[in-house]
């Protein structure tokens, strides 16, 4: 395993929750001084040169996102840190905030300077109680030390950070749903446009960034942007924090440069597959399409390679699956999760995810029928690009790809039903059948 620069996880295990330790490790130092000497536009340009892309899943270039925020709207600009880590298999933000909360605060000060923000929110998943404790403790220390509040470090710049506890909805990780939830409304995605960068929280320009994106900023400011860009691929700079889980020897959080081969991640970082042979890998969380063993052998962990393989990099949550598992069971778990977490707004998602889950349940219960798989694939066709947010595709995508790549598993399950091949009786409408 090649030695890699630790951008976000450098302070892990060193007790950096305490501000003194964090300062000794290089925090709240030159980087902030350097920031306050720059203008907003210089800083945004600086971040753009680092080629930092959003780490939440979509991979949008961070500097470009900041440049979209209007400067002269006459309204306050808000930064919201998306720490509502709900994607199945993702647990990096949890560790990042727990181990190194001050880095997040320092990153937020940098981002706030870039956007001219007076108030920032950390929208943290409600279940992450240790995280919230750690963050609040760090915030108190930072306020006491003068890094937050009025006139930070003797400048005229002021910033307040609030930690907001979510109430446990997966969809609140979508930025407009997150903003709705932050405002105190039901967590449902909003229609776009207007995009949050123009009209977000309380109809003001709002920038929503992932925890890891913000936490990469102090390192970039301590070093040169080119140094960060050099670590990754030509189109996405830097390192990425991967969470590897599933059938591996050492599941956990690992930081590696973008473009690391997938098998290197599995074999060298996570210690290899256990319990059987490699069957499939979910490269970016539960909502992405799986790669089978042959594809995983050639894949590299970056946005472009995975997109070319019709899956996605997502949040970097690799779930490794060995050949003792049946993919139908896994898909049923996903069906359960997404049909429960649909916000209930758009018709295809509200009704379709539940319907897919019911069909999957039947297959798992041994009541599958020939044609069920085709029906599911056809239903997923009705999801594509027709809903407000991509939650329906988060289930539709896996259903299409699981059934396409691991059709054998589904056929095995359906074959358990002795009547699976019986021609389907067309139910004619009879009054009284439903009521």
């Amino acid at each position: 395993m090649a030695e890699c620069v630790k951008v976000c996880t450098g302070n892990f295990g060193k007790g950096a929750q305490d501000i003194e330790v964090y300062k000794k490790l290089g925090g709240y130092g030159d980087a902030l001084k350097r920031v306050f000497e720059m203008s907003q536009f210089e800083l945004i340009d600086y971040v753009q040169r680092s080629n930092l892309r959003g780490r939440g899943g979509a991979g949008f270039p961070t500097g470009m996102k900041w440049s979209f925020v209007p400067r002269n709207s006459g309204k306050p600009v808000y930064i919201v840190v998306n720490a509502d880590e709900g994607e199945g298999g993702t647990f990096k933000d949890h560790f990042l905030m727990m181990e190194d909360p001050h880095r997040l605060i320092e990153g937020l000060i940098i981002a706030a300077w870039a956007l001219g923000t007076r108030t920032a929110y950390i929208y943290c998943r409600g279940e992450f109680l240790p995280c919230i404790e750690s963050l609040n403790k760090a915030l108190n220390q930072a306020y006491a030390a003068g890094y937050l509040g009025e006139n930070i470090m003797g400048t005229k710049f002021s910033l307040d950070i609030f930690v907001h506890r979510g109430a446990g909805a997966y969809i609140c990780g979508e930025e407009t749903a997150l903003i709705n939830s932050l405002e105190g409304q039901k967590g449902q995605p909003r229609l776009k446009p207007p995009f949050p960068a123009v009209s977000g929280a309380w109809k003001s320009p709002t920038c929503v960034n992932n925890v890891e994106t913000i936490m990469a900023l102090p390192w970039i400011l301590q070093h040169e942007p080119e140094e960060y860009a050099k670590m990754g691929t030509p189109r996405a700079g830097g390192t990425k924090v991967f969470c590897i889980s599933g059938d591996v020897k050492n599941p956990g959080v690992y930081e590696a440069p973008l473009g690391t081969p997938m098998m290197t991640m599995i074999n060298e970082y996570a210690g290899g597959v256990v319990g059987g042979k490699l069957k499939a890998v979910l490269p970016g969380g539960s909502s992405c399409a799986p790669l089978n063993a042959e594809e995983a052998a050639v894949a590299t962990m970056d946005y472009e390679c995975l997109a070319s393989m019709k899956t996605m990099f997502g949040s970097g949550a690799m779930i490794v699956i060995n050949d003792t598992h049946n993919m139908v069971d896994l898909l049923n778990v996903l069906g359960n999760f997404y049909s429960h977490e649909s916000c209930g707004q758009c018709t295809p998602c509200r009704e379709g995810t539940g319907l897919l889950h019911r069909i999957l349940n039947l297959i798992v219960d041994g009541k599958g029928h020939d044609g069920d798989v085709e029906l599911m694939q056809s239903l997923c066709g009705g999801f594509g690009g027709v809903t407000i947010c991509p939650l329906s595709i988060s289930l539709g995508g896996p259903v299409s790809s699981y059934t396409a790549k691991f059709r054998k598993d589904f056929d095995e399950y359906i074959a358990k039903n002795p009547d699976h091949a019986k021609p389907r009786v067309q139910e004619t409408y009879r009054p009284g059948i439903f009521w």
């Binding site: 995605p189 909003r190 209930g344 758009c346 295809p348 509200r350 139910e427």
Partner: protein, 532 residues
């Protein structure tokens, strides 16, 4: 939920026309509106469930999908939330299989958890979901019966039927006037948006999420608002039904008469839905200038008394106007034609007749939705016709001067018996009234005439808009005649048709002379020079 402040912009007559390409054909559409309205303006209907022109856009039904040519190729967009941009390229199902399939898929999803019991549903025949399905849905279910349905509904209202299927609440008593069928709800959230942004009283909310979302009031609260019956109008399915009309009449048996509610001086535009000579319900008729799509409960429920307690028609020779001075009191529901006939009568009687108008009832405030608060419906019409609209006190003071009192649709004693009591001093009291009300009971001659729901006529509402009433064939007796016929007969020149009476009105009020009765549009005409 989303963008609750986001009201759709509707096209007007003055909208600038822009060129867009629909299915590669150039068409000129209104440029300041959304695509759905623009397509409607050129005759392309787009199916929709959640979109309503007078409610904020929610965009959750995903039924109105069209394809738009964009920088990233052809994308599916919802037409209700896409603004018209000059030169945009749009593809409808006429040319795009993808749109057709997407709409069909959405339609299928919509019906996954919706009961398929249209034959016993009260909304059948006027159900948006049913219409969309009959037009574009697929007739065969692709689902096996084992897949089952997951009926929406409050867990407290769910029950298990004889087939073992978990069912949603069937007739949940959600308020004093409305029953909710939770199974039939398709979560379009129209009612929620109506209560939030039109009624201004957020009593409804979507509770839960995913396919167990259901409509609910706050715990322990009921849906109770002056406009709550509008919720049943805008509900695209049979989820919200009005208790008064539920299972009373199949809607396809109803005939619809477009007319104007004379309950209030805003003159809310209504449909009188009648069958078998009886009014079964009153529905709002969309008029963007007046009441949009809304109607208050009091105006709506007023029809229930239209056929009760009616005065019979008697021979007009029973009406004898004496030699002394005559006071003609006109009530607020008198039409322009009635006023014209009353002026004809006054002219024929020479200087000894005087016209009075007004009401003893209190004048309230406008609520900004579909009521002006003024019970005197045709007050502006009185002003236009030069008839006093508020001089009852004058009559009461000078009551000793008069020998004959003719009241026309003016229930003075019913409105305020104490204030009207001096009028009993007038010996000869003739009441022309639709109802056998307190004034008719006190009258020496009570003469039955037609109710405003049964006459042709016009009125000027509080906004100065001249609106037309149409007669529903629901008069209890064929012999009953409109007030203007009776009054004009008394004057000696009988007028038996509303258009002639309206022409006569034009002689008294020049502002009306430029209109002819038949040319008044169903949404009315804004009168020039009438102060509002």
């Amino acid at each position: 939920m989303s963008n609750y402040y986001n009201m759709p912009k509707l096209p007007t007559e003055n909208s600038p026309k822009v060129e867009i390409f629909v299915d590669d054909r150039p068409v000129m559409v209104p440029g300041d509106t959304n695509l759905l309205e623009a397509l409607k303006a050129v005759g392309i209907e787009t199916p929709h469930i959640c979109y309503h022109p007078y409610l904020p856009v929610s965009g959750n039904c995903r039924q109105c999908l069209v394809e738009q040519e964009g920088p990233r190729g052809r994308m599916l967009v919802i037409s209700c939330y896409t603004p018209v941009v000059p030169g945009m390229k749009i593809y409808t199902p006429a040319s795009s299989e993808r749109v057709k399939n997407a709409r069909k898929a959405t339609q299928e999803f919509m019906l996954v958890n919706h009961p398929l019991d249209c034959p016993i549903c009260d909304k059948a025949g006027e159900c948006t979901l049913q219409e969309n399905f009959m037009e574009a849905g697929q007739n065969e279910s692709r689902l096996r019966p084992e897949v089952g349905k997951n009926y929406h509904g409050n867990p407290d209202h769910q029950f298990v039927d004889s087939k073992g299927q978990v069912r949603g609440g069937k007739h949940v008593d959600i308020g004093p006037r409305i029953l909710l069928d939770e199974e039939r709800c398709v979560q379009c959230d129209r009612c929620v948006r109506f209560m939030r942004s039109v009624a201004g009283d957020e009593q409804l909310q979507l509770a839960g999420r995913a396919d167990h979302t259901y409509i609910s009031t706050f715990p322990g609260e009921k849906l109770d608002h002056e406009y709550d019956l509008c919720v049943t109008d805008i509900c695209p399915t049979g989820a919200m039904t009005a208790k008064y009309f539920r299972f009373q009449k199949r809607v396809w048996l109803l005939s619809h008469t477009p007319t104007v509610s004379m309950d209030d001086s805003l003159g809310a535009n209504i449909w009188l839905d009648h069958a078998d000579g009886k009014i079964w319900r009153m529905m709002p008729r969309c008029n963007p200038q007046v009441n949009r799509s809304w109607l208050s409960n009091t105006s709506r429920m007023a029809f229930q008394t239209f056929s009760e307690n009616r005065l019979p028609a008697i021979d007009a020779s029973a009406i004898k106007i004496g030699e002394g001075k005559v006071a003609i009191v006109l009530g607020g529901t008198c039409t322009i034609e009635d006023l014209a006939a009353a002026r004809m009568l006054k002219d024929s009687l020479g200087g000894r007749a005087e016209l009075f108008g007004g009401t003893f009832r209190a004048v309230g405030k406008a609520d900004g939705i579909a009521k002006s608060g003024d019970p005197m419906a045709n007050r502006k019409g009185f002003k236009v016709m030069g008839v006093g609209d508020n001089n009852l006190q004058d009559l009461v003071k000078r009551v000793s001067e008069f020998e004959t009192l003719i009241t026309v649709n003016a229930d003075l004693f019913g409105e305020d018996a104490a204030a009207a009591s001096p009028l009993e001093k007038i010996k000869n009291r003739i009441a022309l009234s639709a109802f056998d009300d307190a004034t008719a009971k006190k009258a020496t001659v009570a003469f039955g005439i037609r109710h405003w729901s049964e006459v042709q006529g016009t009125m000027v509402n509080s906004l100065g808009i001249l609106q037309k009433l149409n007669a529903a064939p629901t008069a209890p007796e064929a012999e009953l005649r409109p007030a203007y016929e009776v009054l004009s007969q008394l004057s000696g020149t009988a007028i038996t048709c509303a258009s002639k009476a309206f022409k006569k009105a034009g002689e008294y009020a020049s502002v009306l002379a430029e209109y002819s009765y038949d040319n008044i549009k169903s949404t009315g005409a804004l009168l020039n020079g009438v102060e509002v």
